[in-house]
C-alpha cells in the first residue's frame, strides 16, 4: 500500500544544531529522512547497503552510514551532516583543505568523506597517514585514487 496509508512515527531530533519535529514512515531511512523530508540533499545515496559511505553522517558523535539507520532511531539524538560543517565565519578547515588540495573530482563522495574525516579529527587531531587511510576505508572514491583526499586530511590536521 502507498505510504500515505501507513501510520507515521513522530520523532524529535536535532539536525546541524537545529530542532526538528518530523512525521515519517517507520521504514524510512535516516538518509531518506534527511534528503526527502528535511530537504538536506548534501548527504548522498550511493549504494543503500552500507558499502560506499556516500551517506555518512554523524549521530551523537559517531559516524554512521545513514542508509543503514532508520529515521526513528535518531529520535532524541544529535545528527550532523555536511551542511553543518561550515559556520558563519567560514568553511571548516577540512572543507578548505579539500579545495586547496583538489581532493575532489566529481564531488559525489565528498560530503561523506568530509563528515567521516571530521569524525576522526574531532577525536584525534593529528592522525598518521595509516590511521587516516584506515578510518576512511569505509568511504569509496572512484575519481581521485585517494591521494589528494589523504593529503587534504593531513593538511587540516596539522
Amino acid at each position: 500500500m502507498s505510504s500515505s496509508k501507513i501510520n507515521k512515527v513522530q520523532i524529535s531530533t536535532k539536525i546541524n544544531g537545529q530542532e526538528y519535529d518530523l512525521l515519517i514512515p517507520p521504514y524510512m531511512s535516516l538518509l531518506d529522512t534527511l534528503r526527502e523530508i528535511v530537504g538536506l540533499t548534501g548527504t548522498k545515496e550511493g549504494c543503500l547497503d552500507g558499502n560506499c559511505g556516500a551517506c555518512t553522517v554523524n549521530v551523537d558523535g559517531r559516524i554512521v552510514d545513514s542508509c543503514l539507520v532508520l529515521g526513528p532511531e535518531v529520535n532524541g539524538k544529535d545528527v550532523n551532516t555536511v551542511e553543518g560543517m561550515a559556520t558563519p565565519e567560514g568553511l571548516h578547515p577540512l572543507q578548505k583543505a579539500f579545495l586547496e588540495e583538489a581532493a575532489l573530482q566529481c564531488g559525489i563522495c565528498t560530503p561523506g568523506f568530509l563528515v567521516s574525516a571530521k569524525g576522526l579529527l574531532d577525536n584525534e587531531p593529528s592522525p598518521s597517514e595509516d590511521r587516516i587511510r584506515h578510518w576512511l576505508a569505509g568511504n569509496l572514491c572512484r575519481c581521485t585514487g585517494y591521494d589528494k583526499i589523504i593529503k587534504a586530511v593531513q593538511k587540516a590536521s596539522k
Binding site: S2, N51, Q95, C143
Partner: protein, 755 residues
C-alpha cells in the same frame, strides 16, 4: 609534479591551480546532483527487470500494478514508437535506435539479467517498488551464453535474431558475432619466421564496471504543451537530448535537458537508460514530474560495463632488441547488443611500438550480459595488458632491458598505428625518458619482510583522444568580470580549466570568471564530457570566443580612440594605441556609448589527434601465504601536452591508476552457472579503498599538442591503460609466475605460485 619540456613561464594563468569555481558548492553539500532535484508535484518511478539472462517474453500483464492505490502510470515497450533498426548519427555518436530502445526496455526478448521490461510511476518510491512486484511476466527461458567461446560455438543460441553479422565484409546471419574486422600491414608470417624470438599468449579478462559512486538517475516532466524537461546524471546533456529524441520520436527542439552535476561517469554515463522511461511515465501520468534513481545492483547488472573477453597476442623480436612483428586477435563481449570497444582496442593495441608488420583481427561478440559501454580509454586497458605482458616476456627471453626495449621501439612522429594512421608529434619517447630518469625507477625495490616478495612492473599505454563539437559564450560585465557559459558537464574541474584558457587570452584573472553549464536550450551544441576532449575542445572554443571578444572590444575602442581597430594593440589584458592605453576590466565599465554589452560566442568541431601516451611503474608486495597484494609505490608518467590545471590533471591520472589497480587485482563480474552476476554490490565487487593504495606519483611530461594553441592534449583516459600490466608484471617479478587471466587475485596468485 610537472616535468616540462616547453617554457611554461610565458603563461600567466595556464599551469596554475586556482580553487575550482564550483568547489565551495561541492564541499558544502549545496551542489545539485540529479537525485537532488526537487520539482513540485514530483512522483517516483521504478522499473521491472528480468530475472533471467536470456528469455523470450511471452506476455506482460500490468493490470494489477495499474489498479494499485497510489500508482499513476505503467509503461512497457508498447509505449515506445517504432523506429528503424539501422545505424544513425546523433551528432556525435553512432547509434542503432531500435536496439538502444530495446536495451532500455525489452519488447520480445530479454538479453541479460536485469534487462528492463516495464516501468511504473507512483506516489512515492516505496509504492513504486511495491507496484513493480505486481507486474506479471511469462517467460520462455532460453539457454544463456556467458563467454565469448560459448557465443562462437556451433549451435550456440542466437541472442539477437535480427542480427546480420559483418564478418570481414561478408554478411552472415544467425550469429552472435556482430563484427569481424582486420587491419593488416606488411607480412607478419614471414617476419615471425625471420625472428629470433616469437612468443604467443592468450589472455582473458572479465567484464568490469566503471564503479561511479552516483547511480544513474533521471527526472522528467512531459508538459501539456508537448515539451519535455529532463534532469539526468549524464556526461553529455546533448547526448541525452539526442537519444531521448530518437527513442521517443520527438524532435530535439521539444526536449530541454537541464544541467545537474554528475557523480562520476568514466564513459558509463554516455548512454541513456532511464530518461525516455521517465518521460513516458510523466506523459502517462498527466504531466507529473517523475524521478527514477537506479539501485546499485542494477547499476552493476544492467548499465554499460567494459567488455571482458580474450586477447591472443603474438610478438616477434630479434636479439638486437628490435620488434619485428605483432599479431593479435581481440575478442570482446559486447553484451546483449552489438557495439563493444573492440574497434578502439584495435587502434590502441600496437600504438606504442614502431611496427611495419602487424595484423589485428577484432571480434565484437554478443553474450547474455549487459550491453557494454565506454570505460575510460575503452578497449585500451584490455589490449595493453596483453601486449605489455608479452613484451615483458620477450625481454626476459632475450635478456633485454625492458625499458630500453620500449625506448628503442617507441612510436614517434611518422610511426603508423596498427590501423595505418600516421602519428604527428607525440610524447611517448619523452615519457620513457622520464621513467628512466625518475626517482622511482632508480630506487631499489627494497627488502620484502619475511614471507613476502616484491616485484616491479613497467607498462605503457595509449589512447587516441577525441575532438568534436563544443561551444562557449562570453559576456563581459560592467564590473570587468566575465560570465562564461559552456556546454561541458563538469566532472573534474573543467569549468575552471576552460575558464583558464579564456582568462589567458583576455588577461583577466580566472577568479573573475563566472563559469556555468547551461541547459541545452541556452548553449550551443557541446559534445559529451569524455574522450579526453573537454579541456581540449571546449577550451579551444573558449579560446576562440576570447579572441573574438578582443576583436569586438577593439572595434568598440576604435570609436573612442579614433583609430582603426587593426591599429590597436592588445597584450596582457591591456589595449593600447599611441599614447592611449586601458585595461580590459576598466574598459568594461565604459562600453555603453560604444554599443552596449560586449559578448562573443564560438563553436568548434575539432578533428581529433590528441594522442596520449603513458608509462607506469608499479612496485608491489605479495604475501606468499595468502596471495594478498599491497601496492607499495606507483609512478605514472604521462604526456599531458600542457597541464592547464595541474592539480586536477594530476588528480585524473591518479584516479585512473587506482581504477586500473582495482581492475588488475580484484575487480570482476563473477558470473554463476545461471548466468547472473553473483557479486553485484560494492561489498563483493571489490574496488580499491583508501587503505589499499599508496600515494600515487604522477609525472606530467609536456609535449605540446600541435593542434591546440596552448598545446592541450587531453589527459583523462590513457591513465587506465598501463596499470593492469604494470601490476601483473610486478607480481610476476615477485612470484616468478606470469599471469594471463585478470584479475590477478589472491587465489590465483597462490595457485600459480605453488604449482
Amino acid at each position: 609534479m610537472v616535468a616540462t619540456h616547453e617554457n611554461k613561464n610565458k603563461y600567466k594563468v595556464i599551469g596554475k591551480s586556482p580553487i575550482r569555481h564550483d568547489g565551495v558548492d561541492k564541499v558544502t553539500g549545496r551542489a545539485t546532483y540529479g537525485a537532488d532535484i526537487k520539482v513540485p508535484g514530483l512522483i517516483w518511478g521504478d522499473v521491472l527487470r528480468s530475472p533471467h539472462p536470456h528469455a523470450r517474453i511471452l506476455s506482460i500483464d500490468t493490470s494489477k500494478a495499474e489498479s494499485m492505490d497510489g500508482v499513476f502510470a505503467v509503461v512497457t515497450n508498447k509505449d515506445f514508437p517504432n523506429v528503424e533498426e539501422k545505424e544513425v548519427s546523433t551528432g556525435e555518436d553512432v547509434v542503432n535506435l531500435k536496439r538502444d530502445q530495446a536495451n532500455i526496455m525489452a519488447y520480445d526478448k530479454v538479453h541479460y539479467k536485469g534487462h528492463v521490461i516495464a516501468g511504473v510511476a507512483a506516489i512515492d518510491r516505496n509504492t513504486a517498488q511495491e507496484a513493480i512486484k505486481k507486474i506479471e511476466v511469462k517467460y520462455e527461458v532460453l539457454k544463456h551464453i556467458s563467454d565469448v567461446d560459448s557465443a562462437m560455438a556451433k549451435n550456440a543460441p542466437i541472442i539477437l535474431e535480427s542480427l546480420i553479422g559483418d564478418h570481414l565484409g561478408e554478411n552472415v546471419p544467425n550469429t552472435n558475432v556482430a563484427k569481424i574486422f582486420r587491419h593488416e600491414f606488411g607480412d607478419v608470417e614471414q617476419a615471425f619466421k625471420d625472428s629470433d624470438c616469437v612468443i604467443e599468449r592468450t589472455f582473458t579478462m572479465s567484464m568490469i564496471h566503471q564503479g561511479y559512486i552516483e547511480p544513474h538517475n533521471a527526472t522528467a516532466v512531459w508538459g501539456q504543451d508537448g515539451k519535455i524537461n529532463l534532469w539526468a546524471s549524464t556526461q553529455g546533456s546533448f547526448g541525452v537530448r539526442a537519444q531521448t529524441s530518437g527513442m521517443l520520436g520527438i524532435p530535439e527542439s521539444k526536449i530541454k535537458v537541464n544541467y545537474v552535476e554528475i557523480g562520476g561517469g568514466f564513459g558509463g554515463k554516455t548512454k541513456v537508460y532511464l530518461e525516455p522511461i521517465a518521460a513516458l511515465l510523466s506523459k502517462k501520468s498527466g504531466g507529473r514530474p517523475v524521478k527514477l534513481v537506479m539501485d546499485r545492483s542494477s547499476v552493476f547488472e544492467a548499465t554499460g560495463p567494459a567488455p571482458g573477453g580474450k586477447v591472443r597476442m603474438k610478438i616477434g623480436a630479434n636479439k638486437d632488441g628490435k620488434i619485428t612483428a605483432a599479431e593479435t586477435d581481440i575478442m570482446f563481449e559486447s553484451g546483449g547488443y552489438p557495439g563493444s570497444a573492440v574497434a578502439a582496442g584495435s587502434i590502441c593495441v600496437f600504438a606504442c611500438y614502431n611496427l611495419t608488420n602487424s595484423k589485428i583481427t577484432g571480434y565484437d561478440i554478443l553474450v547474455n550480459k549487459p550491453k557494454s559501454a565506454a570505460y575510460r580509454a575503452p578497449g585500451s586497458p584490455q589490449v595493453s595488458f596483453a601486449i605489455e605482458s608479452v613484451i615483458d616476456e620477450i625481454c626476459e627471453e632475450l635478456s633485454l632491458d625492458k625499458l630500453q626495449f620500449r625506448i628503442d621501439n617507441a612510436s614517434k612522429e611518422g610511426t603508423r598505428r596498427g590501423d595505418g594512421v600516421k602519428f604527428i608529434r607525440i610524447g611517448l619517447e619523452e615519457c620513457l625518458e622520464a621513467v628512466k630518469s625518475s626517482d622511482h625507477w632508480n630506487s631499489p625495490l627494497g627488502e620484502a619482510p619475511k614471507g613476502k616478495a616484491r616485484g616491479r612492473g613497467l607498462a605503457t599505454g595509449y589512447w587516441m583522444n577525441g575532438g568534436g563539437k563544443s561551444t562557449c559564450d562570453l559576456m563581459l560585465n560592467d564590473d570587468g568580470k566575465v560570465t562564461l557559459n559552456e556546454g561541458s558537464a563538469d566532472i573534474g574541474g573543467t569549468r575552471t580549466s576552460i575558464s583558464m584558457q579564456a582568462a589567458e587570452v583576455l588577461g583577466i584573472p580566472v577568479e573573475d570568471f563566472h563559469p556555468s553549464v547551461p541547459d541545452t536550450d541556452s548553449i550551443g551544441f557541446t559534445g559529451v564530457t569524455g574522450g579526453s576532449r573537454t579541456t581540449y575542445a571546449t577550451g579551444l572554443a573558449a579560446y576562440n570566443a576570447a579572441q573574438k571578444l578582443v576583436e569586438e572590444l577593439k572595434n568598440r575602442l576604435s570609436t573612442i580612440w579614433e583609430a582603426d581597430s587593426d591599429q590597436i594593440n592588445f597584450s596582457n589584458g591591456t589595449f593600447s594605441f599611441e599614447n592611449e592605453s586601458i585595461h580590459i576590466q576598466d574598459l568594461a565599465g565604459k562600453l555603453d556609448p560604444t554599443g552596449g554589452p560586449a559578448t562573443s560566442t564560438a563553436s568548434v568541431n575539432l578533428d581529433s589527434a590528441g594522442n596520449a601516451f603513458g608509462a607506469h611503474i608499479c612496485d608491489l608486495e605479495v604475501d606468499l601465504e595468502t596471495g594478498k597484494t599491497d601496492v607499495i609505490r606507483y609512478t605514472a608518467v604521462q604526456d599531458v601536452g600542457t597541464a592547464v590545471y595541474p592539480q586536477y590533471c594530476e588528480g585524473q591520472i591518479q584516479g585512473g591508476v587506482v581504477q586500473g589497480l582495482g581492475w588488475a587485482l580484484n575487480e570482476e563480474y563473477f558470473i554463476t552457472e545461471d548466468g547472473v552476476m553473483a557479486n553485484k554490490s560494492y561489498l563483493d565487487y571489490r574496488m580499491p579503498t583508501s587503505l589499499d593504495m599508496p600515494m600515487i606519483d604522477a609525472i606530467m611530461v609536456e609535449v605540446p599538442n600541435p593542434l591546440h594553441p596552448f598545446g592541450v592534449r587531453g589527459v583523462g583516459e590513457v591513465t587506465l591503460a598501463p596499470p593492469l600490466a604494470a601490476a601483473a608484471l610486478a607480481i610476476k617479478e615477485a612470484t616468478g609466475k606470469r599471469h594471463f587471466d585478470l584479475p590477478v587475485k589472491p587465489g590465483r596468485i597462490i595457485d600459480l605460485y605453488k604449482s
